[in-house]
Amino acid sequence: MDTNQYLEMFLDESKEHLQACNEHLLELEKNPEDLAIVNEVFRSAHTLKGMSATMGYEDIADLTHKMENVLDAIRNSKISVSTEILDVVFKAVDYLEEMVMDIEAGGSGKKDVQDLVNALNNIEAGHEAITTSVMETSATTLEVVQAQDMPKTELNYDEYELTVISQSQEQGFNALEVTVTLRDDCLLKAARVFMVFEILEKAGEIIKSKPDVEFLENEDFDASFTVVLLTKEDSVAIQAKVMKVSEVEDVLVTELTAESLIQGKRDKETSSQSLEQETTATEVVVKQETAPEKSKRSTNASHANKTIRVNIDRLDILMNLFEELVIDRGRLQSIASELHNPDLNETVERMTRVSGDLQNIILNMRMIPVETVFNRFPKMVRQLARDLDKKINLEIIGAETELDRTVIDEIGDPLVHLIRNALDHGVETPAERIAKGKPEEGTVTLRAYHSGNHVFIELEDDGAGVNRSRVLKKAIERGIVTEEVAGSMTDKQVAELILASGFSTAESITDVSGRGVGLDVVKSTIESLGGHITIESKEGQGSLFQVQLPLTLSIISVMLVNLEKDIYAIPLSSIIETAIIQKSEILNAHNQKVIDFRGSIVPLVNLKGIFEMENANKMDEYQSIVIVRKGDKLAGLLVDSFIGQQEIVLKSLGNYLQSVFAISGATILGNGQVALIVDCNSLIK
């Protein structure tokens, strides 16, 4: 089978399942008694096994299979959860991740898993002896589910089909299983299938095919396929007729009898009612075992169906197309208002509402929760804490905070560096912590939240904090600062020295946070994303790393204002408030127009003057101003009039106009016009 087209799906889903494994294993470690969690892990592992086997990645399938056995033993309370066992299972998940990565990178997904398989076997074997018989039953149950997942060589019949077969047999029909093998060099497989079906349908009724008709039509099968035919003709006649179709290699017709069906069913242990009345005790047991398995699987499947994957390029195209639509909507609105046709008006209104909803959905589709980055950290912290012999509790807050996809993709590595740093250099060893009177377990908090136009990601630890004298000593040694400057530096400035390149304060260099190359890389990556990083640290009490990221390529709220005939947008995040002042309230101070705004002197900025527009010095009796801020500095922007508040999509002016003074970008308004976005930061000195 050509599996290439499924590869991407396989990779995505594998990653999802491995992530689920990780999460649930971590949970399991905290609540070793909660067997429901084991079930979750088991389900993920099981699906992974099925998928990888189908895709032909044997090593992954083998390893998952072993892992599954261990999990199954845990699930059936034959093994109790211990850190040692979890270590091995975690390792197995790691290996699986590596193999999946390898496949993604174009590799074969092969890896020597023998050691791990042995380790898993040992865990399993330690308890197997006592409960062999039970293990066997559960193993067979697994096989059944497995068999339903994967292509089968023989047919399984469900209850309905069995009833149909038995009834038609009572009426004198023969139930034939016809297996047709096409020649290897057959070019038009679908056409041959069609011809075979046509012949068979003349002879009787086809009640089942394997693979499904859909796959057959798409030539999505190997050389052979099987159909079940109810006919009054005998098997020899059918065989002869089908053989007449050209390019057919072989036709195998077997007659289905009540006995063979029952036998087949027993072999397979499929859950179904007996064809005959002889429902045996064993079958009932089997049915009970598989039924809950099935229902669980179906709930799991419905979870998986809640998301689909879409290429981000397509979302961009969708967005652009939608903007086109918005322009036309604007035109339609103005036409409608001219024509005064009630029907047209109503339709346009409806369309406006619907497209408004559509816009929200499209914009939101591009945003993904920061969780996608955060969710790999708990396991990383667990592993690092074990490596470092520290006790660390990672708290994650605000994982649902949404960020634009482009930022999400870049932010992972810097955060890994920061977390490693906090664990290695920040949090002390348990002994040190006890000596300092702190709780033995260190707490590292990862926090994400929106604020204005930015997303903040904070990493806080209750560790040792930045040691001022040690950092300064090192910085002076390295020539990063001079001794004179060092004395006058604030604690914050000193803390930020650790972001300078070539800086490492750890007494011993560990392989966890490396050689101090990490933090300056973090700084440059974040700055390249248009963000900032700041450190606040209290010696002995811990540090707070704050990363501020822009919501680039995403929606921002702006205030639209008029300047002459043009519309400009001022980001709401910079706006303190808007006001209308009387001309007489404007004062002069050193050739600078100012106003007294709530007790403080605020300089006025003549936007039209800065933008070199006409009527720059015209001042109305009542003047509209927008009070904006940069940090703690304020300024009042003079504008002609306010239009209102709106959510807009930030667009760059492109590479031709690389830098325009006081303009940070542009956006497209509902009527299709471009409005420029005022960069308040460059207007305030």
Binding site: N655, L657, Q658
Partner: protein
């Protein structure tokens, strides 16, 4: 002429012909994305005078350059025949305002000559060559020079 060097292998070059001040100019058809009628333009403050503004080109904010201004020719109000030729450069798309654009033409490569000493008032660095076809004189433009990105358009003298 360097940019036409690789074209020697071909015998002809397809160009879009447009008018500016009654003269005919040509751009290679490969770089032309589309030709638009004038749509609403938003002015961008504190940019060189030849940057006419930005337009919304199917969801992309695209800068527009007034070629008359760029060449230092007499500026004329836009009218119904004015067109915006959207050209796609390596890193960006820019629209060029021209008086009229209505012709696609195959120029035999042999007819392209380096520019004569005097070609109107246009700065010579903007011109890649001149083609004489059927008594028509087509001026081939050097778009790379004409559309140099504007870095730090106006510095912070504010």
């Amino acid at each position: 002429m360097a940019q036409f060097g690789e074209l020697v292998a071909r015998e002809e070059m397809k160009v879009i012909v447009f008018q500016l001040m009654e003269k005919e100019y040509a751009i290679e058809v490969d770089v032309v994305e589309s030709i638009e009628k004038l749509i609403s333009v938003t002015e961008v403050p504190r940019t060189p005078s030849y940057v006419y503004g930005v337009i919304n080109l199917r969801g992309l904010v695209t800068p527009i350059v007034d070629l008359r201004e760029r060449f230092g020719l007499e500026v004329k109000a836009l009218d119904d025949s004015s067109r915006i030729i959207i050209v796609s450069m390596e890193e960006f798309e820019v629209g060029l305002i021209v008086d009229d654009a209505n012709d696609v033409f195959d120029i035999p490569l042999s007819s392209i000559e380096p520019q004569p000493e005097v070609v109107g008032t246009i700065e010579s660095e903007f011109i890649a060559g001149v083609a004489k076809v059927d008594n028509r004189l087509l001026v081939l433009l050097n778009l790379e020079k004409i559309l140099e990105p504007l870095k730090r358009v106006t510095s912070d003298e504010f």
